[in-house]
Symmetry: C2
């Protein structure tokens, strides 16, 4: 998606540890108009697929997932990172290692919100090692629901998550796929 790629080139900053900092438009400050355009692109990519619900993970997946849910006319469920006093004990859960934060989170979804046979589209802001995406797929599988695919804002294609999960048969559409990045250059995969 050209608009997102241009924005990454303009405002993204590469930090040590293969971190791409895009927090001035994607995951701390949110450019809501860009987010809406990204939602329309996700709708276009999955046109023709029946989608019952969108699944994302707190916190930075929520804005784009909510917008995509709105334009696609479906509800959004976000997996939570820790057990909250006002979430039912009846949950599906998975362990997800965060390379960014260097810790493991349990992610949970109430069993009320993922059901057998539902067709679920996963939406998230980043795909790198694929740990979050695997965790979300596990929640869907525990519910005997079906993963239609995943829509990712930014995929670090030089890290293994995307290839690994595509090899397992998951459809993954990324709005921007980064082939390589360093302090002074960033290139996208050819379409």
């Amino acid at each position: 998606m050209r608009e997102l790629e241009e924005r990454i080139l303009r405002d993204g900053k590469v930090k040590p540890g293969d971190i791409l900092k895009v927090d001035n438009f994607l995951n701390h400050q949110i450019d809501t108009a860009l987010m809406y355009d990204m939602a329309l692109e996700i709708k276009r990519l999955y046109e023709g697929e029946k989608v019952d619900k969108i699944l994302t993970i707190e916190a930075s997946g929520i804005a784009i997932a909510a917008m995509a849910g709105y334009v696609m006319g479906v509800p959004v469920v976000f997996a939570k990172k820790s057990k909250s006093a006002n979430v039912s004990d009846e949950v599906y859960s998975a362990e997800v290692y965060s390379y960014t934060h260097g810790n493991t989170n349990r992610i949970i979804v109430s069993k009320s919100y993922l059901s057998e046979g539902q067709r679920i589209l996963i939406v998230d802001d980043f795909l790198a090692n694929g740990a979050a995406l695997e965790g979300l797929c596990s929640l869907i599988s525990q519910a005997k629901a079906e993963a239609v695919g995943a829509a990712i804002a930014i995929e670090k294609a030089f890290q293994p998550g995307g290839d690994k999960l595509r090899a397992k048969g998951l459809r993954i559409e990324s709005l921007a796929r980064i082939a390589s990045m360093s302090d002074d250059s960033l290139t996208f995969c050819a379409n």
Copy 2:
């Protein structure tokens, strides 16, 4: 806002400890069409006020804030609950006690995203004791920005936060104001 009140009556559940569970449409599963209507109502309530930016707090404020930002044509910034590896060290911060989770979180916002003189609208899902709202006001004040007001989805008007902060001069608009609630009844404040 009638649509939200009706939804609370239909799907909300009162739990011990004055917890109103609305996680099937507001803060775990999100009804994106309702969220959009709430965003339009927030826009209407603050029509005529200059708003440069919306400030919310992760995680459950993000969906409604993002939608409100989109319909009002402004960016959204969400305060984060813990220091992340990819947030700058240059942050404003405040301590917020969570009555729901029984713990204290430090909330932070990068100094890049709140600036002197900016007119900031706070958006959040709940107002009860007012701790989160006070923390967000503190971040705005540290930045020498100006709080235009707050737009809250659900205010528990029988708890002290709303009155306390209105008495300090903060404009607060709540889309649903709960006067009282118990296992078998829930009433809203008269408009």
